[in-house]
Amino acid sequence: MNYGFVNQDQLENIDKALKKDLIDIGVECVMLIDMAGNTIAKCDNGKCTVDTYAFAALAAGNYATVDAMAKLVGETEFSLLFHKGEKASIHFSKVNNDLLLITMFNRELSLGFLRLKVVELIEKIRNICGQSKNDNT
């Protein structure tokens, strides 16, 4: 299962986009994962020591749980999740039915700015994997 990322160029373009749009604005670590908990791409600022494989498994489980809760209350989905900590925060955003973008950042970065950048990045990722805006949200 490769979610439209069929060649090395696409994965390299994803890496470049993760770095340019998020790491370069101060995000500590960003991961693109699938809903099964596999890591598709990841990029960090060189200081992140998180076990990304375990994190991806937990993040996929967390998102799936919240998604099931959304359906229980009559929502199609909660496409955005945000966990705020004292120093570190985590932002989850759905790219499409298969992929999740997870961003770890500290309090020096504002949530509003991050959200704007995440929206731009998601559109880029969809374009890279050959998916238009209207295909899947």
Binding site: M1, V6, Y53, A54, A57, L58, A64
Partner: protein, 201 residues
């Protein structure tokens, strides 16, 4: 489905240990984690209740080296066995590549095993997966209890109840002592890798 990263030459494979509550799924992973600690780079993740039962899943990732130039990362998961947690069991099965069914050989668990296997069949259907086609290994756990006063089902009965139609590779095991834990693991890894090998370049 396994994710094949062409850029990093890496394959991530998801294997799920499924079965009835208190059957030994977590114990299988704990034994693997202890026995092969020197080859496992990270800690096992367990989401448990206060009563030490699996609430969501256990997660244990490790590398098995290269196949056709691709670094293979095996990711072992368990599901919560308690009947009430079927919604979470279904979530853990998403994207599964191979399954070990851990059957509890205790006589009193006979119906629970059958119910759990039937539910697995239904849960896989919700992902358009077929129990008869997915890489699958049967493990009859707690065989060490044969030497105790606790009644244990003979393997013939377990095979008839659970494996007469599936005809999957089956192993008698004792997860607590490590008996056939590694054999089960090796078998499911080889079956799973064989099924995804054709996707590797």
């Amino acid at each position: 489905m396994a994710f094949i990263n062409i850029k990093n030459k890496e394959v991530q494979v998801k294997i799920v240990y499924y079965g009835t509550g208190r059957g030994g799924k977590t114990t299988n992973l704990e034994y693997i984690n202890t026995k092969y600690r020197h080859r496992i780079k990270t800690e096992m993740v367990s989401l448990k209740t206060h009563g030490d039962r699996t609430l969501f899943f256990d997660f244990l990732p490790f590398d098995i080296g290269q196949i056709k130039g691709y670094e293979v990362k095996i990711q072992l998961y368990t599901v919560p066995g308690q009947v009430k947690y079927n919604a979470t069991r279904k979530l853990v099965l998403k994207g599964v590549d191979g399954i070990v069914f851990v059957a509890d050989a205790m006589k009193e668990q006979r119906e629970s095993n059958i119910h759990s296997l039937n539910q697995l069949h239904e849960n896989l259907k919700s992902y358009n997966l077929d129990l008869f086609k997915i890489p699958f290994v049967m493990q009859y756990n707690k065989m060490d209890l044969k030497n105790s006063d606790i009644p244990v089902l003979p393997v013939e009965i377990l095979q008839k109840d659970l494996n007469s139609r599936l005809r999957a590779p089956a192993f008698e095991a004792s997860a607590l002592n490590g008996g056939n834990v590694a054999v089960t693991l090796k078998k499911i890894i080889s079956l799973t890798m064989a099924s995804i090998q054709k996707e590797l370049l």
